[in-house]
């Protein structure tokens, strides 16, 4: 007998599904992110933190499985670039650990040291369907922002699951400004830093004598320079993207992704040939800076059609509203990107960029990050009705839902609002 789980928020909030108990998540539409494609009337069975089966409704559902029904079922979404968990309130310096304008360190800054699993924006991202986040530091003193990390959105103590997942380096206009005022200065700084790392033994054994980096920064940058760690470069202008690709050709072992890439469509074929993925905000269509004169709403579409791996993110209010990447991806579809490519930009593409094995897909054996939706996930009117991370049912309560419920009705004749909680 199948027990039915009422899909009310309250029920989900209250129950914490035990991992060792199968759950069957039915969807009118199941988007798998695998060669199974999109299944109409499908079911995803999860157990013990893993996906057990994905197929047409009825197939492979064990007796006694808890049942969840939804319009759409997708893999847990992955934000390829955010600051979530680093800033409870962005504009309050004391509550913001994204960047360090007065630190003497740069590449050594380990963003995971600033991660707060209790940050209330994590739950906001989770109830928006995001189960994993790539979190980047901000570059404030040098073009080396530091070390980014990967986290899940459970809000649990150990949720930053891979510190030092990537090195973050800012080029373009911002990199120029952080290096003294020009692109040549930025590139001299970058090359000097790479030299420092490569000659670490000679330069730092007895003295702190790098051209660019302190000993700690050089040490931290070493895996990236050796090609053992991903480098996420920030750049937008076509010439900057070409310069990064020149650098990659001169240093073939480097593992590179580019965030921003507003003019990426102009160099899309080369990006594809070099297998360099991009992380774009598909809303960018204005000449907001002199590095974005060719920004277009079709950037994601054109990059994707050229064969570039494309992740879509919200680069605006990236600490609190990473979840708006679904709307942005939907707009990329409105501007010509295929629906599947747009979904991949939120799932398989970020998983590939950051090497998140077993995430971003609904496939037997994959980790059970699954989202049940009340509609097409890229539609602005849709929202998740249930979220599972590693098979665990997640709370759909946030500080925002608590505020909402407190002020849902405005009668305070009996007691002040402060007693509603």
């Amino acid at each position: 007998m199948i027990r039915r789980l009422l899909l009310s928020l309250a029920a989900l909030a209250a129950s914490h599904t035990a991992a060792a108990e199968p759950v069957a998540i039915y969807g009118d539409t199941v988007w798998t992110g695998t060669s199974q494609g999109t299944i109409t009337n499908g079911v995803v069975v999860i157990n013990n933190g893993r996906i057990v089966s994905v197929g047409p409704a009825g197939a492979g559902v064990p007796a006694g499985a808890t049942e969840v029904r939804a319009k759409w079922v997708t893999p847990g979404l992955i934000s390829a670039f955010s600051r979530t968990g680093l800033a409870e309130v962005s504009g309050v310096d004391d509550a913001n650990d994204t960047g360090a304008p007065k630190s003497e360190f740069s590449a050594a800054l380990n963003a995971a040291d600033g991660f707060n699993p209790d940050d209330t924006a994590i739950a906001v991202s989770r109830v928006g369907g995001f189960t994993r986040l790539a979190v980047a530091p901000s570059a404030r003193t040098k073009l080396f922002g530091g070390q980014g990390f990967l986290a899940d959105t459970t809000g649990e103590e150990d949720s930053a699951f891979r510190p030092r997942a990537f090195a973050y380096i800012v080029l373009g206009e911002t990199g120029a400004s952080l290096s003294g005022g020009s692109r040549p200065a930025a590139w001299a700084t970058l090359r000097g830093a790479f030299d420092d790392v490569r000659m670490f033994g000679a330069r730092y054994m007895s003295h702190n004598e790098g051209n660019v980096l302190t000993r700690m920064d050089a040490q931290a940058l070493m895996p990236a320079v050796k090609g053992e760690q991903l480098i996420v470069f920030q750049a937008s202008r076509a010439s900057d993207l070409n310069a990064i690709m020149d650098f990659k050709e001169q240093n073939p072992s480097l593992k590179i992704a580019i965030v921003g890439a507003d003019e990426g469509w102009r160099v899309a074929d080369r990006l594809a040939a070099l297998d360099i993925p991009v992380i774009v905000d598909a809303f960018s269509n204005l000449p907001a800076t002199f590095s974005q004169l060719a920004a277009t709403s079709e950037n994601a579409k054109r990059l994707s059609e050229a064969g570039v791996t494309v992740a879509i993110v919200n680069l605006d209010n990236d600490s609190h509203l990473a979840r708006l990447a679904t709307q942005i991806a939907g707009n990329a579809v409105a501007n010509g990107m295929s629906f599947d490519a747009a979904m991949e930009s939120l799932t398989t593409a970020p998983a590939e960029i950051f090497g998140m094995t077993g995430l971003g897909v609904l496939a037997p054996g994959a980790r059970a990050d699954v989202v049940a939706w009340d509609g097409d996930p890229l539609e602005v009117a849709s929202a998740p009705s249930a979220v599972f991370i590693d098979g665990e049912t997640q709370s759909m309560v946030t500080r925002q839902t608590k505020l909402r419920d407190r002020y849902r009705t405005l009668d305070e004749s009996q007691k002040p609002f402060a007693y509603r909680h």
């Binding site: 709403s297 602005v380 009117a381």
Partner: protein, 467 residues
């Protein structure tokens, strides 16, 4: 002449105060007052044809949804809306089967032109931060009409918009309402006979810019109580000025010397200039409403208003609009309590709700922002029909700008500011296909020649997102 026009506009829209007959002014020429209207609008509607849009789903913007509806445009005006209409002889017909037709979207909070793209210091003209009270500045003198952002907003169905000064100051200066029509001059965009507006700001920004932001010791205001003292001090001066001016108008003494700051503030006390106030927190909005009662003016709209849901009943009773984002929150302390249900909760309490952008990005898809709020309301049991929710995008902002007698809904006699959408505009996938302003086709997605490109973008690699 200017006084009369402004009074009519105020009466027609918000009926804020009764206007006096201007005759008494003639007996004694008041030196305090300008000889002619300053910076008058030179906007003229572009040529349009008689157009019959038919077989569409029509959201009339006044609360109605018409299946298989038709809209007739003649002489740049809406002349008929309904189901049983026939195209007049010689009319062009647009078969809009499967498409949706709505009034043009009106954004009552934009800084386009004043903070244009590219965002370089040389063109950042949106805040006159030289003093906490700069009611004397007019943002239209900062608006660069070549801002590419206007064209992107047009592609999102924006037909009119209010440009506001920034929120650094307690009194930031006059706003201006524009038709979203490319022009060599800002005068060529000014919405004819729209009343002026005044931007004011609560909270963190003024105290940061003038207080602790300037180092220690900073200037005033340094605190929220300093903000309030600053407002009241300015209103006291404006009240005196107005008294002296009115006395002179009635032949009772010398008029005051012209003073741009006090002219604007007195215009508010006259009810001719509408107050648009940046205010996030509920408790501050409540205090501002009290200040307005103390001095006898009205706040037309609170902007950002992320905590309006906490006092939606009080806002309804007072009669102020809240101009809101769908979901922006958390970027500063006073935005910490923002929730996605703010807009539907305000609407549900019977208060006036408006979706605004404050962003050159957000302005491109205010329909989607409304859709998010609408859906978030529905999930908590506030089921607002889409045709009612559309008022957040057109009629309510028009009301807040005093132009709702001219635009903001598809009703006979109104300006033919119309958008034809590819699908239900509350869908992410819908796009504005055709945008008409005063009946003239100003944007056609399928016709590159009918998509404007600003001077700045001409000859650039993207050329206005057309390449």
């Amino acid at each position: 002449m200017q006084i009369r026009i402004l009074c009519l506009a105020a009466l027609a829209s918000l009926a804020l105060v009764a206007c006096e007959a201007p005759g008494s002014r003639d007996s004694k020429k008041a030196d305090a007052e300008p000889a002619a209207e300053a910076f008058p609008s030179t906007y003229k509607a572009y040529p349009s044809e008689t157009l019959f849009i038919t077989n569409a789903t029509v959201l009339d913007g006044a609360g109605g949804l018409i299946e298989n509806g038709s809209v007739l445009i003649e002489g740049g005006k809406i002349t008929a809306v309904g189901t049983d209409l026939k195209a007049p002889e010689g009319a062009a017909t647009l078969n809009a089967s499967g498409k949706w037709v709505t009034p043009g979207i009106i954004d009552n909070h934009s800084h386009l032109g004043a903070y244009p793209s590219p965002g370089v210091d040389s063109q950042a003209d949106g805040n006159e931060i030289s003093a906490p009270v700069t009611a004397e500045v007019w943002v239209e003198h900062s608006v660069w009409p070549q801002d590419p952002g206007f064209t992107r907003a047009l592609a999102g169905g924006i037909t009119s918009l209010q440009i506001l000064p920034g929120s650094a100051n307690l009194f930031g200066g006059r706003g201006v309402t524009l038709k979203n029509v490319p022009s060599r001059t800002v005068q060529g965009m000014k919405f004819p006979d729209a009343p002026y507006t005044l931007k004011m700001a609560c909270g963190e920004n003024p105290k940061r810019v003038y207080g602790y932001g300037k180092g220690s010791p900073g200037g005033a205001p340094y605190s929220r109580m300093g903000n309030v003292a600053g407002y009241r001090d300015a209103w006291i001066k404006a009240t005196d000025y107005k008294k002296q001016r009115d006395k002179a108008r009635n032949g009772g003494g010398e008029p005051p010397k012209r003073d741009l700051e006090l002219e604007t503030l007195a215009g508010v006390l006259d009810g001719d200039i509408l107050v648009h106030m940046h205010c996030y927190r509920a408790d501050e909005m409540a205090q501002i409403m009290d200040i307005s009662k103390e001095f006898g003016y009205k706040v037309t709209a609170f902007h950002h208003a992320v905590e309006s849901y906490k006092i939606a009943d009080k806002l309804a009773e007072y009669g102020a609009c809240s101009s809101m984002w769908a979901d922006w929150y958390g970027f500063k302390m006073e935005a910490y309590d923002g929730i996605p249900e703010n807009i539907p909760l305000v609407h549900n309490a019977g208060a006036c709700a408006i979706v605004h952008s404050d962003s050159e990005v957000g302005i491109q898809r205010l329909n989607q922002e409304a859709a998010k709020a609408w859906a978030d309301g529905k999930r908590i049991g506030i089921d607002i029909p889409i045709e009612e929710a559309w008022q957040w995008l057109s009629l309510n902002p028009a009301r807040s700008l005093g132009i709702d007698d001219k635009t903001g809904s598809l009703e006979p006699g109104k300006m033919a500011d119309v958008v034809v959408w590819s699908a239900n505009p509350f869908s992410t996938y819908a796009k504005a296909e055709k945008v008409y302003i005063d009946g003239a086709l100003m944007f056609d997605r399928d016709v590159p020649a009918s998509r404007p490109v600003m001077d700045f973008e001409l000859g650039q690699p993207g050329e206005g997102d057309r390449k």
